[in-house]
Symmetry: C2
Subunit: 339 residues, 2 copies
């Protein structure tokens, strides 16, 4: 663990910070959960069954929390933020359903993925359904501007996913391309989630932009840490199985750094296990060793740390208060959860 990748807060304090943010939005979050259940309903029983499997599997719901907290930070007193937080969670759930089909993942957060239980066709179609539902919720807010932000984010997410697919198994992928992929597939929705919370509250343009910047930076930090944890964490810490990315041959920053910095025998190893997709059971441990040897985890986390700092800086236009403090602490949490 490098000093550069550390923050001033201890891990316990960071986790505490997330709890504080969750407590601040707890009442709104209950309304979001009720709206989720209400809006995934359908006369076609397979839809709530499949959607519920994923939605109830216990993610942290960071994205809808961002929408609610952004609205709270901007002193919003209406109800549209609940609709928008639900819409954001539905977009996220739709992308997860499609991702699992794309990656052919067997497990998510330790549970069988929906497509393993109901099949690929159902996962594709229920994803489409949730995606449509999210736009219906946005329409109810009556704001074309908000619809524009989330439609743009959705297009960018899809572009990022295709970009990732095109870069699959290509060890020559640059850090720059990798950052574009995670800015698109992950950070665009974090940014939009925070931005629309501010827009619903009628915040001025500077504050709307500040929250979009905050969300984007948090999103990049979050994904960098996720990608680092895949080579470092136990299933308990990350909520998915370490080694998933490796077994799927995903090109993430730890691999990019280890490959770029590796000697010829290391590059031959990465070529065999990633590019040629010829893995043996003992390869994951060897991969973790090579990644450590090349400082690829600590440098990935150092980059995450700089995005977390940028996220905190983005909050500058806002006055001090419980929401600002909790969002600032959330930035620390995104990185600290790695330790």
């Amino acid at each position: 663990m490098s000093a550069a990748a550390r923050t001033d807060n201890a891990p316990a304090a960071a986790s505490d910070a997330l709890d504080k943010l969750i407590a601040l939005v707890a009442t709104d979050m209950e309304a979001v959960n009720a709206t989720i259940v209400e809006r995934m309903a359908s006369d076609v029983p397979m839809i709530p069954a499949l959607a519920g499997h994923l939605i109830q599997s216990g993610g942290k719901r960071l994205r809808p929390i961002l929408t609610l907290a952004a609205a709270g930070l901007c002193n919003y007193a209406g109800r549209d933020h609940v609709r928008l937080a639900t819409a954001v969670e539905f977009i996220h759930t739709a992308t997860l359903l499609h991702d699992d089909v794309v990656d052919n993942s067997a497990l998510r957060r330790g549970r069988k993925t929906a497509h393993m239980i109901w099949g690929n066709p159902a996962s594709v179609l229920v994803g489409d359904f949730l995606y449509s539902r999210s736009f219906q919720l946005m329409v109810e807010t009556g704001s074309v501007a908000i619809l524009g932000v989330l439609a743009n984010a959705s297009a960018i997410i899809a572009e990022g996913e295709v970009m990732q697919l095109a870069a699959a198994k290509n060890l020559e992928t640059t850090e720059d391309t990798y950052l574009k992929v995670i800015e698109s597939k992950t950070a665009a929705l974090f940014a939009a989630a925070a931005e629309v919370g501010a827009m619903a509250a009628g915040a001025d343009a500077a504050k709307v932009k500040a929250l979009a910047d905050y969300g984007r930076a948090i999103g990049v930090a979050f994904q960098l840490v996720d990608d680092a944890l895949d080579y470092a964490a136990s299933a308990d810490t990350i909520g998915k199985n370490a080694g998933d990315d490796f077994r799927e041959g995903k090109i993430t920053l730890p691999v990019i750094l280890a490959f770029a910095r590796g000697a010829s025998d290391e590059r031959a190893f990465w070529t065999r296990v990633i590019a040629d997709d010829k893995q043996r059971p003992e390869d994951f441990d060897a991969a973790v060793d090579l990644i450590k040897l090349r400082d690829a985890i600590e440098d990935t986390l150092a980059r995450a740390q700089s995005y977390a700092l940028a996220a905190k800086d983005a909050l500058q236009p806002f006055e001090d208060g419980p929401y600002k403090r909790a969002l600032s602490a959330l930035a620390d949490f995104c990185v600290e959860r790695a330790y």
Copy 2:
């Protein structure tokens, strides 16, 4: 061919009618085609490559034609109908991309399907991209009401597709359930396509509803004829291979009627080839014979005919003129193309 399923127009006249409609919207359609090319562009090369494969494969573009013609019927002089027609075509293309993955289809309109060339992951993700693009186009019109109509249609389409999936290979599917499926998966987008054309033109509520009703009825007729042609047509007529539905074990009205009316040996045949998915090469010809024996094609077309008449009746609020005449003739064309 039953007398009931015939209209007063000869086939040549009906095809002529489609040409007249196409001629009426030709200038607008050129603008739509240019917008399609412009908006499927992306820095990620796989996106225009895959989207273009499907979009340029030469469908009749009935849905965007409906949007343009509805706007023309309502004397619209603006440009939003071009954006909306493009949005409608993108939604349709996205559903086709996802359908091909769901059905595992090898061919569409006689060409290899995108997922056979680029793989399922790319088809899923580019479908998502086009779907997002369609909402971006709607946002540009600035109308939340229009966004609501197309978001609702999209949710209904997805529900219809899941409903169809749940009914797959189930020979006990009723005609009522089948109609619900095609009203959702096909007619909802035809209805929305016509409706938003009228809305863009600022038509009054009665005319907006009339065009939605027209589109819905045309959509049901169109799908009924499509399902009939799968057991009756050459690849030239329908633009896809006859027997596709049969080989995929799809439950369509010709099968529902033939099974319901069949003697026990016929039911045993349908059970083996559809429910048990055990087909031999000679089974398609046998299926066509059984469907003829039970008058299932002509009765399917008779139902299509009644929807086509309803579509023409729906145009009652409009004054006579070239658009009304062409839309009325389009209703005939939807059925006449079967003969």
